[in-house]
Amino acid sequence: MDLVRDVLDKKLIDRENCPMGRVDGLVMHVGERSQPTITHIEIGGTTPWMRLHPAIARLAARLARMWGPKRGEPVKIPWSRVMTVGKDIKLDVRAKDTGALDWEIWIARHIIERIPGGGHEEEE
Amino acid sequence: MRAKLLLLVSVTFATACKPPAPAEQLDSALSWIGTAEMAGAAWVRHTTPDTYTRQTLELSHETLAQISNDLLKSPPTNADTAALNSVLTRSRGRIARMAALIAAKNAPDFARELDSLRVDHKIAKQSFNSIESKQ
């Protein structure tokens, strides 16, 4: 399997097929003499912006502290949670519990639900 | 009102930052006389609303005023400035009167003004063409 072609930037879905972002980053563990392993998938936070430029990542972090769900750190999902790698990447998690949907929920509660006809985010 | 004012401002701005060649100005003047004529003809046939026609005539009038101003400031070489000015002023006056006649719902007078405007349009076209060919 080719990591960049087949995993990085792919869409992530949870156990219930709910979209939870894209693979913005991958954490690799490198030992002195042991074979390197991929340990985590990172979603959101400063991770994607870091790929553009560190200065943009710093700006994004500052903005995130001022506004929104105040979540600075990217969401980290251990690799052992990966169920299948195909068209999308399926994770053995519940999207809402991971924090990957913090922004979605924050915008739904603070903005969308307050506009008439927006509906409610909790309804299943 | 505000729309037109702003359009005028933007036209002024556009003309301010790039002075078009006199030949283009002449074409532009003809274009707006033609516009007034076409709008007038449509109104005479009762096919366009009063407000739209009046506004379009006013727009032609204002734009023509702007163009003649610019033209007189830097007239094209070999041009009979007096004749140029007279035909532009005459058509402008007719267009303004047409706009006023719509408000008064005076169709017969409007039609007469429109016919005269057509004649002026032809005269303007001929004199502009001769200016352009001389250049």
């Binding site: 930037d9 972002g21 969308i112 | 505000r2 274009s31 516009t35 004529e37 096919t47 506004q55």
Partner: protein, 404 residues
């Protein structure tokens, strides 16, 4: 039988949704200034669009991805971010032009200036997005857009000289006003090859759950729909050439364009024009704002669907809400809508490589498309047209700005 219905509906959608502020403004200006000479630009742009739309439908049907999904996955976040910024800026200006088109249509009907309509119009567009479903937007608005067929009726009734019109289908070198000729040609190409149509179309294929069995349907819809659409554009150009050129009218404002059909269809021409522009621009405004929201949502992997309640895809709904409200601001400031339209179309041409080149990579990707990937014909047609519009844009936009 179901397939026949689907094809008919698809073609109706394509035809009703083809014309918008940009294509009418550019075609009218071209006809008024250069007669039939620029018909080739519409032909070339439409040909390219047929291929692009067919390709985007096929991509979605086979890979179950949208173009934006593919772009992010193949080219990574940094490249995606650049395309996102470029496309969003251009689509935003296009959206401003479409909202202005709606406002101006109402203005010529009511006499109240278009800046006054900025807020009501953007609220109305937003409300349709907020409450409407995808099929309402795709089918409902496009069916109303069928009124634009009147442009062809008008063109035919003016008895064009079909022989010289046919000559216009071949590119000619302009005698004078070269800069203007080039700029209008670029704007026409930009108006025809509008990338938002691709994003909208392939997202629609996902929303309608297309699979490989839709490939022939997709081909017919793209081919016939876009051809009819291109003919509508040509109708506008021919009508303008016959209505405006004899009077020496150089179309610079919407008020002038409104006279397009007053001679051909004396009784209804003016109102048909207003109605056509109203529905055409409304459809295009919806499609453009949806395309921007799709771009963000798909690129970042958010939940997106025009069929869900806004709170079920909050970030998606939030994006189009912000975009539509922001687009009202330039209108309130009273920009010159005609200039904005021409510029937005030329900019579209200039940014086409940014949108299309990565798409060509995706269309040749065996992992996404398997045996359904592009042949050399599609690749070359699209590559050549994109190259032509880009080169023309790079030459003529600076000339237009300097004031050629």
């Amino acid at each position: 039988m179901k397939k026949v219905m689907e094809i008919t509906l698809g073609i109706v959608t394509a035809v009703g949704g083809f014309l918008e502020m940009g294509s009418v403004a550019t075609a009218a200006q071209a006809g008024a200034a250069f007669g039939y000479d620029l018909l080739w630009a519409i032909l070339l742009g439409t040909l390219c669009l047929i291929f692009l739309v067919e390709m985007s439908g096929r991509f979605s049907a086979v890979s179950k991805h949208t173009i934006v999904d593919g772009m992010r996955e193949r080219f990574g976040f940094p490249f995606f971010a650049i395309v996102l910024i470029g496309i969003t800026v251009v689509l935003f200006i296009v959206l401003v032009a479409e909202l202005a088109g709606i406002g101006l249509s109402v203005q010529i009907l009511t006499g109240i200036g278009f800046p006054w309509w900025a807020i009501p119009v953007s609220l109305a567009v937003w409300f349709l997005m907020w409450k409407g479903t995808f099929s309402l937007i795709e089918n409902g608005v496009s069916v109303l857009g069928l009124v634009t067929i009147c442009f062809i009726v008008a063109a035919v009734k003016l008895h064009p000289d079909w022989g010289s019109a046919a000559h216009g289908l071949l590119p000619t070198f302009p005698g004078d006003q070269k800069a203007k000729y080039g700029f209008i040609a670029v704007s026409i190409l930009g108006a025809s090859v509008s990338p938002h149509l691709m994003y909208f179309y392939c997202s629609g294929a996902i929303e309608d759950k297309w699979d490989e069995s839709y490939i022939p349907i997709n081909r017919v819809i793209a081919g016939l729909g876009m051809t009819f659409g291109g003919v509508l554009s040509m109708g506008v150009l021919i009508a303008a050439a016959l209505a405006f050129r004899p009077n020496g009218i150089d179309v610079q404002t919407f008020e002038q364009t409104a006279l397009l059909m007053t001679t051909a269809l004396p009784k209804w021409g003016f109102f048909l024009f207003a109605a056509s522009m109203l529905f055409a621009c409304l459809g295009a405004a919806l499609e453009t704002s949806l395309a921007i929201a799709y771009f963000f949502a798909q690129g970042f992997g958010w939940n997106w669907s025009e069929n869900l309640a806004p709170s079920k895809n909050a970030r998606f709904a939030f994006t189009y809400t912000v975009i539509i409200l922001l687009a009202a601001v330039p209108l309130l400031l009273g920009i010159d809508p005609f200039q904005v339209t021409m510029m937005s179309m030329a900019l579209t041409s200039a940014t086409l490589p940014l949108a299309i080149v990565p798409f060509l990579f995706l269309m040749n990707d065996p992992i996404y498309l398997g045996k359904y990937r592009n042949g050399w014909l599609s690749n070359s047609v699209v590559a050549i047209v994109i190259l032509i519009s880009f080169v023309l844009a790079v030459i003529s936009i600076p000339l237009e700005i300097i004031g050629g």
